[in-house]
Amino acid sequence: MSVSGEYRTIPDTGCPYEFAADGPGRWRLSGEVDVAVSEQFAASVAAAASAAGPDGCAISLDELRFIDLSGLRAIAAAATGAGVRVELQGVPAVFWRYWYLAGFSAAVTGVYPAS
């Protein structure tokens, strides 16, 4: 009558997010980013920022369902590390929530979120 054992996620070999090129200097982030994948995501977004020209790059977040602090930190670190402007487009509510409550809005330069 009752389930035994701990709840386990189905072994998930697929990545819960996608970070893909969407034209020159343009990227698209979709799915979910959290601590389980933030290291891998940080490397991808850092590479994108490093490859950007003097105008920086833009990331569309229209299809982003969730991002946590580690994901925001990865984006902020990529912009800071490459010294470029990263413009975020279609920023979802969850991003804004973290961005303001964790103090990123006051502390991070180089990242420009826009709805």
Partner: protein, 345 residues
Amino acid sequence: MSYPGGQLTGSAVNHAVHFYGTDNELADSVGRYLADGIRGGDGVVVVATAPHRLAFEARLAREGLDAARERRAGRLLTVDASGLLGGFLAGGRLDHDRFETAASALIGYAAAGGRPVRVYAEMVALLWDAGDIALAIELEDLWNELGARMPFCLLCGYPASGQSGRRGADPVRDVCQLHSAVADQRSFTAELSSVRAARHYVTGLLGAGADEAAACDTAIVATELAANAVLHARSGFTLTVSRSAGVTRIAVRDRTPVAVPDASGPDACGPEIAEPAVTEPAVTEPAVTEPAAAGEGLPFEVMTGHGLSVVAQLASRWAVDPLPDGKVVWAELPVPGLPVAGNPR
């Protein structure tokens, strides 16, 4: 612990329902509910199956409470659920008078000296499991009617496996509406992927019709509490979601006790929580909830802390409750979420 029982106001009876996943989860939750009652001087009544009564007594023993001694002292009354149910269920009908006689006698005994009474009962679950949904709901109604005349706190347990396939169906909705609080619980393993699984579990409970802002805040709180358990307590965790009037409470129980400051030697798990208990939504010393990986060149305040400080800002109340074998970190969110200054929703 995060039990709604005893904390709700405004109704004659605090009537909570708990959908549990495993018998161990039930024993843990009910054991703490009973132990809190006994320690608080309540008269405690348990109406349960024999295996569950044994499991609860074992849990009480772990809390340092001897069930036999408490029974002798009149502080604990244990009754077989089938036996009591059989006394007022006949021919597929509930005899309301007999129920009232039996239940009010138990509560009256437990209330000796005018002390508060705390009841755990699972007769409704027996009816539910047998497919007698209408009778289960009728019995819940009888408890509520009795509660209107006699003050007591009631917790009902339902196996989640019995209702998981019917989530959203009318009987489940009816059961939830008959209670002043509803709790769901699931355990997760100590893996990073559990953070996402926990988030999906909690947002799934909210349903598709949930307020978008409230769902966002709930996802953030579930994520941060789960991440705290996996990254810092480094243990599996049990997540409980309790809903009562206007409040959703998310509680994560892990198996690592609260770190004691100045303990000898560095704490391998790190002091993920600086203060052992926080009850006000004040800004507190934040906890580090992510490994400080890529982030060189960022301001210190962005690289450290934040996880639980975000929880503290979103929650109307939150706290860390130490347990002998771990701790519960919980946060309460108003429903729907209240706006937070500076948030451009």
